[in-house]
């Protein structure tokens, strides 16, 4: 978000080589971004490290974002790399408080990729773009040697038009505000994990990959009482809320009993020792709204097809600063930390 100022500390980054942990969306990813990328590229548009940069051109406020998509397998229940690429990018624009206008897509294709697969991906992109109300206005294609491309990767960029009713940012969030999520948690991450096929779990879990713009737009009517929006992708709700509490210096308290998790996802997570709070979503919105508009916001979300399962999951408190806490259903409490490394199934 444009005005979200992170405390810029001198990042310590001792890693000599990139490991997969740097890509998992948790602390290591952020350290990499701050210590390597911001170190050289710092500028007022990039520094806030929001989902989109906000650029003013001739009095018009634009949101601008880019996203690289690598997913294995390319096709999974509820989506594929094509729909994921479009929705993920559209969502980064939407949570900046903007209406997505146009996308670009660059494809790196690996020698040997079946054209039928590529057709399927592109058709899926077209459908996702149509549903999201955007066009894919520019593109590029490269082919790399076999073994150097992971089948297919897609890099997208998008611009959107900022809605002038809202101004979002972590610094707008106040103690007492309510935290809403638009629906069930962890569907996408589990669907992909299941589709990899090495877990031998027979469950029907579909990715939630979708454009959240209609959900976001419905909340724009709240004006300044809509404080902050995010789509909790890699690292899940936990990591996204930690970014909010760290940037705002406030605390978010979640109610475990209120968290919406579909039974199949909960069961799969239980078996694997994973926490749905950390599992990726691709079609959900987290919103922080003023307490006295929370019920109204809930009704607005629930009026949308994608928001039927929306709930208030917690609230913002002043202390302890920078932490996300969970009131457990059992009667205790705990910290909900940022994701560290990849979520790994437990050993025993």
């Amino acid at each position: 978000m444009s005005n979200e100022r992170r405390p810029r500390r001198k990042s310590r980054f001792h890693d000599e080589r990139i490991t997969l942990v740097h890509g998992a969306g948790g602390k290591a990813s952020r350290n990499l971004v701050e210590a390597v990328f911001l170190e050289e590229l710092a500028n007022p548009l990039l520094d806030p490290l929001g989902d989109s940069a906000l650029i003013e051109v001739g009095g018009t406020k634009l949101a601008f974002t880019t996203d690289a998509h690598v997913v294995q397998p390319l096709f999974f229940s509820g989506g594929d790399i094509g729909s994921l690429a479009v929705n993920g990018t559209v969502n980064d624009i939407a949570v900046a408080g903007a209406r997505p206008i146009a996308l670009s897509a660059a494809f790196v294709l690996e020698e040997g990729l079946p054209v039928a697969d590529l057709r399927r991906v592109v058709a899926s992109m077209a459908e996702a773009a149509r549903q999201a109300g955007v066009v894919i206005a520019a593109g590029d294609t490269k082919v790399v040697e076999r073994g150097r491309g992971d089948g297919l990767t897609v890099t997208t960029a998008a611009i959107g038009l900022v809605d002038d009713r809202v101004e979002l940012g972590a610094e707008k969030v106040r103690a007492g505000d309510k935290v809403l999520v638009s629906g069930s948690l962890g569907d996408h991450g589990m669907a992909v994990m299941i589709a990899r096929g090495n877990l031998e779990l027979e469950v029907e879990i579909s990715s939630d990959s979708a454009s959240v713009f209609p959900l976001a737009e419905s909340l724009f009517a709240l004006g300044a009482d809509l404080r902050w929006l995010r789509d909790p992708t890699r690292g899940g709700l936990a990591t996204t809320l930690n970014e909010l509490t760290e940037a705002s210096g406030l605390c978010a308290v979640l109610e475990e009993k209120a968290l919406p998790v579909h039974e199949q996802v909960a069961a799969a997570c239980e078996i694997l020792g994973l926490d749905p709070l950390y599992v990726a979503n691709e079609g959900k919105l987290i919103a922080v709204v003023a307490a006295d508009r929370a019920e109204e916001a809930l009704a607005l979300l629930r009026a949308q097809p994608l928001g039927a399962e929306a709930v208030i999951v917690g609230e913002i408190e002043p202390e302890p600063a920078g932490l996300v806490l969970l009131q457990t259903a059992f009667g205790g409490s705990r910290v909900v930390d940022m994701l560290t490394g990849d979520p790994l199934p437990r050993i025993c």
Binding site: T19, A329, F330, G331, V335, L344, I347
Partner: protein, 373 residues
């Protein structure tokens, strides 16, 4: 979710908590060790520690399979992973454990073919699918995971798979408990015994704790109500002056354990004379190696491994944490130099490590004063 929600009921927890407060022997302070890292994790994840009455303290034990692997064995694993033509397979947690020259994850970024598997059978399958490669499985864990390695070895032999070996680091639970009970620095009043280890070995191997050390033991399940009920069972024994081995986890654990699992272990592995533990040093008859009949599948016989004992990082107090002497937050480097993303010690790496559990879940807790005896 059925069979889960029943064991996480906040309502029953409140009832148990009040029974527990009533059962506490007046004027006594009790320290109970939860041996298993899975318990430590559940305690913090559900906030069970916050529900305990004053004067009752839970002390973390050594039962974290990743945590007890010493630096030297990690170095051996890295050396195996760097062998030409080897696919080195491991449980995910083990990849991030730092050795003296980096972790397996670091070895992978330098070109080693290190892969995460969910089961040793997956590693065997990988060997069959890649006959031109050599697959090594990094076997770690207590009696919970040992049977799956044993079964895999039996299958490897039955199927004649030659390009598969096991780097065996399996350990047994009773010897470190004896070492902890023998140590003069810590007074424990009772033990919460690990449920899944006990599913394999049964509850009899803990009899010596009751008979020789006069401490009560309760074998506990991993849901929060299991743990709370086990604590209540221990407190009731202590209040009545009893020291017995009781089984709370009756839906899983039998007194005699799992005879078929024990048989598979017996067929494939035997006790080493001695095995080095992180923090506990070398303990006689505490680790397993492959039997002579399985020499062909033994990575330590097929490859040269350094086999050097390497001391822990100077600042690391995992050893004391594993022995219950130091609480995670009392360690000098906890949360500063040692964090889950840049761990110095294993207790911060493993999802079952006490430091990781406390770091992830417990940082909102007021620092409690340790019961010193």
């Amino acid at each position: 979710m059925r069979y889960i929600d029943e064991f996480r009921s906040g309502e029953i927890a409140r009832a148990l908590t009040s029974e527990l407060a009533d059962a506490m022997p007046p004027g006594r302070e009790l320290a109970l060790m939860e041996v298993c890292g899975g318990h430590t994790h559940a305690i913090y994840k559900h906030g069970i520690d916050e529900l305990l009455p004053p004067g009752l303290e839970l002390v973390h034990g050594p039962g974290c399979p990743v945590c007890v692997i010493p630096v030297g064995r990690v170095d051996d694993a890295v050396s195996l992973a760097l062998e030409p033509n080897v696919i080195f397979t491991t449980f995910g947690d083990m990849m991030r454990v730092p050795g003296s020259k980096g972790s397996l994850l670091d070895a992978r970024s330098r070109g080693a073919d290190v892969r995460m598997v969910y089961s040793p059978l997956d590693a065997l399958e990988l060997a069959r699918a890649n006959p031109e490669r050599e697959v090594v499985f990094f076997a770690i864990g207590f009696e919970t995971t040992t049977p799956s390695t044993a079964i895999t070895l039996l299958q490897a032999r039955a199927q004649g798979v030659q390009n598969f070996t096991v780097f065996c680091n399996h350990v047994t639970i009773a010897p470190p408990l004896k070492a902890i009970l023998d140590a003069p620095e810590l007074r424990l009043d009772g033990l919460i015994a690990p449920g899944h280890v006990s599913a394999v070995i049964g509850s009899r191997p803990y009899d010596f704790i009751a008979s020789e050390y006069a401490r009560p033991v309760v074998v506990a399940g991993f849901e929060p109500l299991d743990i709370l009920q086990s604590v209540l069972m221990l407190v009731r024994q202590l209040a009545a002056g009893r020291a017995e081995v009781e089984n709370q986890y009756t839906r899983v654990v039998r007194e005699q354990g799992n005879p078929r699992a024990l048989e598979a272990i017996e067929q494939t592995m035997e006790l080493r004379d001695s095995f080095e533990w992180r923090g506990l040093g070398s303990i006689p008859k505490s680790g397993l190696r492959l039997r002579e009949e399985f020499a062909d599948w033994d990575a330590e016989r097929r490859y040269e491994v350094p086999g050097i004992s390497v001391p822990d990082h100077k600042a690391c107090q995992c050893g004391q944490v594993l022995r219950g002497l130091v609480k995670p937050w009392e360690c000098k480097v906890f949360g500063t130099a040692c964090t889950p993303e840049r761990p110095i010690g294993t207790c911060m790496v493993s999802s079952e490590g006490a430091c990781a559990a406390y770091y992830h879940y417990g940082r909102n807790r007021p620092k409690r004063v340790k019961i010193q005896t």
